[in-house]
Symmetry: C3
Subunit: 179 residues, 3 copies
């Protein structure tokens, strides 16, 4: 059994380590800005780090659930590779969210909406390096990570459909396509 899940398990543990990193960033920011729990409001710099961690936390169970369904019913290796891609883009998102100045965020939001492509004028060298010259903000990573999740949804759904068809209807789609 372990043979069919060891890659998924490894990516899951890696995802946990990423969450731990985000938690440590919030603790570090609480100390730096002197914001004691249960307070969660403070300067925009703190609130961005806090929200980035909360957002990543919210998505973690969804990510793990999709990773495992896609890995069990579609292809373990592909699901694990997509999982690594997701964790990487989450890291970029966190870094971009933390780095983005509240002014440029407000502007880009006011003019273009919540998840629209930001103006190139912002220019965060670090993020742009991380994302290999792509749009320098948290918005590209969040688009990208959401895209990866949708691919995992598609893989899980296709795998499940294939299983349901061959199990209940006796219809083996892959064999039909090969014939």
């Amino acid at each position: 059994m372990l043979e069919q899940i060891h890659l998924l398990a490894a990516v899951t543990v890696l995802g946990v380590l990423e969450q731990a990193y985000f938690f440590l960033q919030v603790i570090h920011a609480r100390r730096r800005f002197g914001i004691s729990p249960p307070n969660i409001s403070g300067p925009p710099e703190f609130e961005r780090i806090f929200r980035a961690q909360v957002n990543s936390s919210e998505y973690f169970p969804i990510f793990v659930a999709l990773l495992w369904q896609a890995g069990l019913f579609f292809h373990q290796g592909l699901a694990a590779a997509l999982g690594l891609l997701y964790l990487y883009s989450r890291y970029c998102y966190f870094m971009g969210y933390r780095a983005s100045s509240s002014d440029s965020l407000g502007m880009s939001y006011g003019s273009q909406g919540c998840l629209s492509e930001p103006s190139v004028a912002e220019g965060h060298p670090h993020s742009s390096t991380v994302m290999l010259g792509l749009s320098p903000s948290r918005l590209t990573p969040i688009y990208f990570s959401t895209g990866v999740l949708w691919v995992l949804v598609a893989a899980a759904t296709l795998g499940l459909l294939h299983f349901f068809l061959s199990h209940y209807v006796g219809l083996n789609v892959l064999r039909l396509l090969a014939a």
Copy 2:
């Protein structure tokens, strides 16, 4: 192995899609009310949608954990059916929460407490249609979805008890009852 979990996997993916729908509603509300992240406060209409999504997110890992234990140790089909019921009542909850006016919410809270039955005078036609004439608010769905979770807890606990008894004590309760 996949035969014993395919229904659980399908309900899990469906649950992820529901979460995605709730996330999209929050993004839509952020745009509509002009509330840029990391802000999470705004008009009551926005805060209700935001809180409904956060609440559903918090319950998602609990739901998935229970679904799988109940499905693996009690009965896959029953657990999956309860899972569908849960997802349906969560949808009603989200719609009811979003629709409830803050005045009636405040009143019903002030007089009757956080999870009490609301007065029939409120009258939200949409929710009442959704819930087939039951109490027109988010409170009935949240009661209902919590009830489904408790049934899943009971199923998982019974299944585990049965497994522990037959595995460690050698006591097969079902065979005893049948004899």
Copy 3:
């Protein structure tokens, strides 16, 4: 298959019951302080209970993910025992967080930082009893529960490393050590 996961499943269901208890505490506090959803701000007493529940919710999927990887790839019994320890320390954390007065929290934070050891002068008899004479606050339990998670991370990582080495490299570390 169930034989290899029944202890993990039992601890998972126990973890869900603990989460349910924390949720009920928040509902109780909402009623007591008259704070209607979607409001999440109120007197410090309420906010501490609310934040303690949110914090425990955030960690729940991480805990479950680690518990299962450590149990599947390292040792089920050890992972389950660590899981029980984690749930116990989470309970102490919740009780300590709820009990700590905001004044002492503010002081201990201001002088010593977010996760530092609190002064012995605080003295919460209940917590100190629970933790068998250890430091009387939420900070010791949170340290302890985080420590348990790191042990689970280590167990899962070691177990996965062992599996990867023996599966891909054909290197059985345990047999080498025994020889």
